[in-house]
């Protein structure tokens, strides 16, 4: 049984790794780099914080 689990672990690892690579390729070819890297630090804080103590 343990050897079967051993092989199953390799199989799951390969499948999920391939899926992530496929999704990565799909996203990178679908969206522009500007959109994907558009996140900015502290945007919400800049809107909500007024610093009136």
């Amino acid at each position: 049984m343990w050897m079967a689990i051993n092989y199953a672990c390799w199989g799951i690892s390969v499948l999920l790794a391939l899926w992530m690579l496929y999704d990565w390729f799909k996203i990178d070819t679908t969206y522009s780099e500007d959109v994907l890297t558009s996140s900015r630090e502290g945007e919400l804080e800049a809107v909500s914080e007024k610093h009136r103590i």
């Binding site: 990565w24 959109v35 945007e43 800049a46 610093h51």
Partner: protein
């Protein structure tokens, strides 16, 4: 973007930018912090007994608990103000400066990646030990742990931390069940603390043994500061982060005390100091197959929860470096559907796998602890500068820690003691790591910093610091 419109995927983009998703609450923060740490109760802390005896393991449990309480209080105050992914990196950037921030981010990535590697090795070794099958190696279990958890992190932070909450809670409850199953109120029935820890063997190497034990006492709480990495994904950072972090610290202090009491009452310090599975062994020594199996499963779950949280945190620190162009901005991509730093997760995945296959547990965890203590040393200096530059009343704080500057001084002193303890046990690694951070700092200062958009990196809408 045109292609995206054609495929209909733009529905997942909110506004003009793709950012991390604010979906987490205090329970997720607790799950992230305690999840990373709790594995330390299942293995690691007990090596303190090898350095200084069972009583030394208890003394460092409380003293290092003080160190981490200081860490949690300081972190809660600063993070409730600098609520950005990257946690201590973002704090360092705003309060100390870019070079410190770059180093802190590397401390974070190293500490969490090496801890993830250690967790995966532990999980693999535990399964192999349980199976007892000739020819079975830990490699497949290590690969499955790292890849499955990376996939979970890739698919979204909410599910990742929901899973962490459940498995961390099960592992924690198993410690509580073990504690009450051995009649802790009655010595002699199952527990034999007074026979195993005597005045003659309590501190076999004297007080220098206690100092040496600091290095492994860190295991009781290593990683609780990881809660701050969720800052950009919690719905209410000012409330959730201090609440989740402090609740996590209280939870861990209770777990550490229960773990020491049960294990020191069941095993002689000579064995306790060398076993890789103190709680699993404690379950076996009770003679109950139910407890033995429960503690075996809990050891696996604790390792899983820790690795899961580490992937989450290391990826966010790496992502933040990319976003500020401290590293190529390619790393700052956010998945438009799952809203996770997917390229950072994928980049760190093979690195973790490579270390897990070639490094041994002791090396990996020493590098993790070293990076962690470097980070805590920075935090003690950071809070002093924060209070000086932006005194109370000058900016809004979600939490204000009491007794300042006492926690910062205590933290700094305890870090120095821990460095000395690490030097006693792993002096060459300490020197190698220091040289590495020095060289990488030179690279950042003389080469990489010219790519940074200097005005963009300071994002908090704070008033000018006092004295500037």
């Amino acid at each position: 973007m045109t292609a995206a419109v054609e495929t209909g995927l733009t529905a997942t983009i909110h506004g003009d930018r793709v950012s991390l998703l604010r979906v987490l609450g205090p329970a997720h923060v607790w799950a992230l912090g305690v999840g990373i740490v709790l594995v330390g109760e299942f293995t690691g802390w007990n090596f303190a007994a090898d350095k200084g005896g069972a009583l030394a393991a208890l003394i460092v449990c409380w003293i290092v608990g003080l160190l981490y309480t200081s860490v949690a209080m300081i972190d809660s105050e600063v993070t409730s103000t600098v609520a950005a992914a990257g946690g201590q990196y973002a704090q360092a950037k705003h309060i100390v400066g870019p070079l410190m921030a770059f180093n802190v981010a590397l401390f974070l990535v190293f500490a969490y990646t090496m801890l993830e590697v250690s967790d995966a090795i532990l999980l693999g070794d535990t399964i192999v030990a349980k199976a007892g099958v000739e020819g079975l190696t830990h490699n497949s279990f290590i690969a499955a742990t790292i890849v499955v958890l990376a996939w979970l992190n890739y698919r979204g932070v909410l599910m990742t931390l929901n899973v962490n909450f459940v498995i961390t809670a099960i592992a924690y409850v198993s410690i509580v069940i073990l504690f009450f199953s051995v009649s802790p109120w009655t010595q002699g029935a199952v527990l034999k603390l007074n026979e195993l820890v005597t005045p003659g063997n309590a501190l076999p190497y004297g007080w220098i043994g206690v100092i040496a034990a600091f290095q492994f006492g860190i295991w009781y709480y290593l990683g609780i500061e990881g809660t701050t990495q969720a800052a950009e994904e919690v719905r209410s950072p000012a409330r959730s982060l201090p609440y989740g972090t402090m609740a996590g610290m209280i939870t861990l202090l209770i777990a550490a005390a229960m773990t020491w009491y049960v294990c020191a009452s069941l095993m002689p310090w000579e064995y306790l100091g060398i076993t890789y599975y103190p709680l699993w062994d404690a379950g076996k020594l009770t003679g109950s197959p139910l407890l033995e199996n429960l503690l075996f499963i809990a050891t696996l779950l604790a390792a899983l929860a820790s690795a899961n949280g580490c992937i989450n945190d290391a990826a966010r620190a790496w992502f933040s470096l990319g976003r500020d162009r401290y590293l190529p901005s390619w790393f700052s991509a956010v998945h438009p559907k799952y809203r996770t730093p997917y390229r950072s997760i994928l980049f760190l995945l093979p690195i973790a796998l490579a270390f897990a296959f070639i490094a041994d547990l002791n090396q990996a965890i020493t590098f993790s602890i070293l990076s962690g203590v470097l980070q805590y040393t920075f935090m003690s200096i950071n809070i002093m500068m924060f209070r000086k530059k932006w005194p109370l009343g000058s900016i809004r704080r979600g939490y204000t820690h009491p007794f300042h500057p006492l926690p910062a001084i205590v933290l700094f002193c305890l870090c120095m003691v821990t460095f000395f303890a690490i030097f006693l046990g792993f002096g060459s690694q300490l020197i190698a790591m220091t040289v590495f951070y020095f060289l990488i700092s030179l690279w950042f200062h003389f080469y990489r910093y010219k790519f940074v958009r200097r005005g963009d990196q300071f994002s908090m809408p704070w008033p000018k610091p006092q004295g500037y």
